[in-house]
Symmetry: C2
Subunit: 235 residues, 2 copies
DNA sequence: CTGATCCAAACTGTCGACAGTCGTCAATCG
DNA sequence: CGATTGACGACTGTCGACAGTTTGGATCAG
């Protein structure tokens, strides 16, 4: 008997907490909740037709993901990032991506190349369309693939943790209008760098790639979307 | 921890969740709970004289810190790391420390040097004693100081998140018996590398330093402490 | 004696309720 | 008229309870 292991998701018995986590995550990233907005436990619970306990536990999880902040005796608020925090997120991302790319480079082979090529092609497919959300997700998916290929699950988790804040950064602004060609080209350059086997060059390409993304976000944030977005840190 | 908001801690009104988080964290890291051990919500709650709700919320938080793993409908278990996971933790640590050291190097000045010198001296103070726990904490404190000086709170939080797993790695084994001199010397070398302003050299020193720590842990894990530690890894 | 089956105890997931706290706003006072 | 105080309402922190599930042992067939 396979008594040990395998949660066996035959019948996916999702508990309420996970469902609430997904619901809240999507709601925040789809900007259905405004940054800084207070989330009422009771309100959410009754809205979802459940009790407050699962909502509270879900909120704790979202807090650890950086999507919510809790103020004792006040409740949970949707995280709102200022420019400094946004810079910090991208700075950490650079550190993580450098590491992931280096690890991938060390084990680069035909399979990895194919895998990344496929990912870029999927990115190209949606890049010509008008589904901005899909572009963002495929962009992130490419980078996530790199972290998968790095072969370190813990490193991947660090990226996943950060990616929620990353999406939050992007949610805060209107999406960039890069051309499909430029989006594709910038990712082909990363693959080329990996292929070259030159660590120095790879670092530079990663720094440039992430730097462009960061500047794009910051630029738009400065363009006016920052107004009336008082960050939720007081006194 | 990572959170913001310093709302006048005149009267420290700690809620139960935070207290339970601290209690559990300390219990796990002090090896009062065995790796892989099941934690009964009801048991803990009655033991602490509280209800299960705060215990559950605290456990969720510990899960996000990597100290507990939850199995649906089964409860929470103390995380137990196998050699592969342990390698992953240290690999991520290398990535983070490289980045932190680089950032510190870019803004290196007299104040930073003094701050790190103080930290190393505190490390030396405890290194000659017999309080192994203090040695570990001061060792981690030095590295945490580097992350603070890097000037990126998000990067610091990433280290804090990882540091719990790091402590867990160390908890799993008997502590290394490095001499006080070698402990001090290895950290002086890191400071020297920072002072040199040479990124390449800094990376190498960091890689070496963390690598030694990793090997030390792995070596002792292989020495026999791994037996009967069936990992409870899922997801 | 081995292995499958069944049952009771223990536990998790979820709920509704209560008490204490915080923010708001109107009434009061200088 | 502006500042202060106090009460009201909303909400969080915490608790005890119930139902369905898992676990481990007792029971029974082979």
């Amino acid at each position: 008997m396979p008594s040990d292991a395998y949660p066996a998701p035959f019948v996916i018995q999702r508990n309420l907490v996970d469902q609430v986590v997904d619901y809240l995550t999507e709601s925040i990233l789809a900007a259905r909740f405004a940054p800084g907005e207070r989330l009422s436990e009771a309100g959410l619970a009754s809205e979802l037709g459940i009790s407050r306990a699962p909502v509270r536990e879900a909120a704790r999880l979202l807090e650890s993901r950086g999507l919510l902040v809790s103020r004792p005796r006040r409740g949970f608020f949707v995280r709102s990032l200022d420019v400094a925090e946004l810079n910090d997120v991208f700075d950490l991302r650079i550190g993580l991506e450098r590491h992931a790319f280096e690890r991938v480079m060390l084990r680069f082979d035909e399979d990895i190349e194919q895998s990344l090529k496929q990912q870029i092609e999927r990115l190209c497919d949606v890049a010509s369309g008008h589904d901005e959300s899909a572009k963002i997700e495929e962009d992130i998916a490419f980078h996530r693939r790199v972290f998968e290929l790095a072969g370190n699950p813990r490193l991947l988790r660090a990226f996943d943790d950060l990616s929620f804040e990353l999406r939050l950064c992007i949610t805060l602004i209107t999406r960039t209008h890069d051309t499909p060609e430029s989006i594709a080209a910038s990712h082909w350059r990363l693959l080329d760098a990996l292929r070259s086997g030159d660590p120095e060059r790879c670092r530079e390409e990663v720094d440039y790639h992430i730097g462009v993304a960061r500047d794009s976000v910051i630029e738009r944030l400065a363009d006016g979307h920052n107004s009336a977005n008082h960050p939720n840190n007081h006194q």
